[in-house]
Assembly symmetry: C2
Homo-oligomer: 352 residues x 2
């Protein structure tokens, strides 16, 4: 298959509203040494696309600064961190037999070579991403998933959300038999956490909005608690559903929920947090941590080891993402509108 | 040696000021099955003695409640968690050959039998402690230290402060070669953390009050930063002394220092906290945790594994506590006055 010179792409031109994301024709990138060119067959949307567009991450020492999650964004930037596709070309030093392989792209850049290296960048943020016909990535980051029973659309739902969820479960040392609260359970990361925690033998209490109970039970939640009550009453409802103290909380909400629920965790329990759609400024009583050996564990994305585990899950068919909608790349603004309304359960896929 | 029926003891009669701690004659306890009676040759003071007396720990959901660290205290209660001594008698099922052994008492009660069990009680708080001529404890908690080069007074300095410090270093995964800030570095736990972190190969930046620099360098600190500046300037001074981002913070201070210093930790760094003499209510920006894989790890005392490591350190003479003062049990109020003024570096020993 010949590779064109130009391609359509969703390009972030500055921090701002939906109009800051423009559909443009851009040059098809060329893989450098050690890289591959991936023809994108399916991409998917994440909260980080919207946060990055808005510049909502702040900076250390300047919490209101407009910035991406790692600092300033180099515009123009093609967004999109979730990518499944096929290797279309290889750079110098990469085995040409890789061309044609069906791959799932690990969108992370790491601070080292080992399995426990930390993520310090993301396709779609620190380099061009997959809301386009083609994307380049390091050869080592394009995982062969030819044998997976999942479709390309299902695979594209995994990297950012399930990768983040896998990182949370690992960093929070979530173990089989533990009772775990998952907040924001119908969102991408939350639903991924429900699926992965249940697949690993934990008992999941899911916190979500009304109307989404059935989808969450299908995903593996043992109990569903509806949000909306004030934090104290919500904490009581969670404790009732859990039937006792929680072993851990897997949280993407933060805000007033955190201080209200922190003392419902057992001694030695963990609160793992990867986002704060409910507010990032919290009042914390440090005694609730240090008197009970409770850890508040920040979790950003995944390590190479976490992603390898996720690829193994995908190859074995142990998890099956839920697709809530599909949009052509040219309809990405309509897709992001639906995404922002959160009236669905599952992932929204983008077809380039 | 015959065992008397009565003994002098410092008994906490209620939550309150110094007058709530009374010197009384009380019955010598008898060891139950599986327990030993230890003749106390040296005890030592800790912040927890004063916090428990004042009831300053609060309760989950009621932060201003008067309570001990685990909840209500059963008065009257003999205080004192740091105990070195000699086994004077044994209960049923304990080898009589244990009588006469020189022992260091692990003051913790645990929630299980394994090496990683969590602490859920403390001699001097949940049971009678060592500010007395005799104390009972489980046979398994009286560690044979006959071979240690440390004096009984030095040994008595270890359990609570160095045990807490050992728990912090382990839970914070402090590794050789890392740069670690220790706050409150001239206090019991802080000085223990400086000594243990340096002994384990970490580079220690110690935060302390003026006049204590030399003692901290002797204890192993590579750099000393003086407290007193406002939090932002203090964070700059710490970063300058560290020569770059910190790998970890070992903190007993909390308060405004925490938000000011949190973004001086590297990605993947850890902030371990075991106390909050600078204030337990903090404003936390959750993004500073979850965007950087930073964990805020509450650390309460030690596990059996941590204490066993500390006993091994004591047997090998790898650490040598610093004794700042000695008081007879009958002078305990004067000793606690000196303790509360914090004008010294090291531990204050109580001789019964």
């Amino acid at each position: 298959m010949s590779i064109p010179d130009a391609m359509p792409a969703a390009v972030l031109t500055r921090h701002g509203g939906p109009e800051a994301l423009e559909l443009r024709s851009v040059p098809v990138p060329r893989p450098a040494a050690g890289e591959v060119l991936v023809r994108v067959t399916a991409a998917a949307m994440n909260n980080t696309d919207l946060w990055t567009r808005r510049g909502a991450y702040g900076l250390p020492g300047d919490p209101d600064a407009l910035a991406g999650w790692r600092g300033p964004i180099a515009f123009p930037r093609i967004q999109g961190g979730d990518i499944a596709g096929e290797i279309a070309a290889v750079g110098d030093g990469v085995d040409p037999a890789r061309v044609g392989r069906r791959v799932l792209v690990d969108p992370a850049f790491y601070d080292g070579e080992g399995p426990d290296a930390g993520p310090v960048g993301l396709l779609g943020s620190e380099a061009d991403g997959g809301f386009a016909r083609y994307v380049v990535c390091a050869d080592a980051r394009a995982h062969d998933v030819g044998a997976s029973p999942l479709t390309d659309e299902e695979l594209a739902c995994l990297p950012v959300a399930h990768g983040t969820a896998a990182g949370m479960l690992a960093r929070g040392r979530i173990a089989a038999g533990e009772t775990v609260l998952v907040t924001g359970a119908s969102g991408g990361v939350g639903l991924g956490a429900v699926q992965l925690a249940a697949a690993r033998g934990a008992r999941v209490v899911a916190l979500t909005a009304p109307g989404k109970e059935e989808a969450l039970r299908e995903a593996g939640a043992a109990e569903v608690v509806l949000r909306g009550a004030e934090p104290g009453a919500l904490a009581d409802a969670v404790a009732h559903a859990a039937g006792g103290p929680l072993d851990a909380v897997v949280d993407v909400v933060g805000g007033p929920l955190l201080p209200a629920l922190l003392d419902r965790i057992r001694d030695g329990g963990r609160w793992v947090i990867a986002g704060a759609i409910g507010g990032h400024a919290v009042d914390l009583d440090l005694r609730r941590l240090y008197l009970h050996n409770v850890a508040l564990v920040g979790s950003s994305m995944h390590t190479p080891a976490h992603f390898a585990e996720l690829v193994a899950d995908a190859l074995a068919g142990r998890i099956r993402p839920r697709i809530a909608g599909r949009y052509a790349l040219t309809d990405i603004h309509a897709g992001q509108d639906e995404f922002a309304r959160s009236a669905y359960v599952g992932k929204i896929v983008v077809i380039p």
